[in-house]
């Protein structure tokens, strides 16, 4: 499943990024060091963190995209940085829990796709 398909199926609002990578599993956490240790390449990362550090952590871990739940937005400078890095950031009105259930239904046999990302 690609980012575009994911965004369509979940009615995500695109904030940044033109990339259309394959998405793998899903990782949810707001503690950035937890994410650096746990988020796998290709994961959809759901977080309430909308700072520049969120962009850096998503880039370092090779997350396929970021979803800000509960209608959260990101500041302009964060969107600008995400576009520079070609990182797809979305906003959703739904909670992280609700998003995770829907992602699971869409992609129940998800696997990390480390080999796809550089």
């Amino acid at each position: 499943m690609t980012i575009t398909t994911l965004a369509e199926k979940l009615n995500l609002i695109k904030l940044s990024g033109e990339t259309d990578k394959e998405v793998a599993s899903c990782y949810i956490s707001d503690l950035l060091s937890r994410v650096l240790g746990g988020c796998q390449a290709g994961d959809i990362w759901i977080t309430v963190q909308s700072s520049l550090n969120m962009v850096a952590v998503a880039v370092m871990t090779e997350a396929s995209c970021v979803i800000l739940p509960e209608g959260l937005a990101a500041p302009d400078n964060v969107i600008e940085k995400a576009n520079e890095e070609d990182l797809a950031v979305f906003s959703s009105k739904e909670s992280a829990y609700s998003l995770a259930i829907k992602i699971s239904e869409l992609y129940p046999k998800s696997q990390p796709l480390n080999h796809l990302y550089t």
Binding site: D30, L31, L32, S33, R34, L36, G37, A41, Q49, S51, L52, N53, M54, A56, V57, V59, M60, T61, E62, N77, E85, N114, H115, L116, Y117, T118
Partner: protein
């Protein structure tokens, strides 16, 4: 090892005959807006040099954690990176307050980060354990009141 943009490893270091590309970055204290810039630059270099995705990811995560530590705790510092075909060595040096108990600092969940830093999503006490997890060798030398030097080695 070459890439399309002409970046290549050169014999710059010593008489060992090992080709090493050396890079040096200044890391500013408390500058969370540009924190990660050095790690991002190294990541781009490794990509250009054609290293494997897994190696690049491990190096990026380890260096980013180290860079953030210097921003949060070290009062800024210097990151020196040596890239050879077989490994990358990242030396992070700061003149910050130092680490009183290294064994405690290495423990998952232990952190001395301020509330402000925690509100930004850091300070989970996972930084050094994460670096250890991603690296093949880790050397941590610290003296209270003098500073800390962290040497991270990651093999391809």
């Amino acid at each position: 090892m070459h890439n399309s943009e002409g970046l290549k490893l050169e014999n710059k270091n010593d008489n060992s005959g090992v080709e090493v590309l050396k890079q040096r970055y200044e890391v500013s204290a408390d500058d969370f807006a540009s924190a990660g810039a050095a790690s991002a630059a190294v990541k781009k270099t490794l990509k250009q040099l054609g290293f494997s995705p897994d190696f690049i990811r491990r190096t990026s995560i380890a260096m980013y954690e180290g860079e953030i530590n210097m921003v949060i705790h070290g009062g800024g510092g210097v990151a020196e990176v040596g890239i050879s075909e077989n490994q990358v060595t990242i030396t992070l040096t700061d003149e910050g307050p130092g680490i009183a108990d290294i064994n405690l600092a290495m423990k998952e969940g232990f952190s001395t980060a301020s509330d402000t830093v925690r509100e930004m999503g850091f300070g989970a006490g996972m930084g050094l354990p994460n670096i250890k997890k991603q690296s093949d060798n880790l050397s941590l030398i610290s003296e209270v009141g003098k500073g800390t030097t962290l040497v991270i080695t990651i093999a391809t």
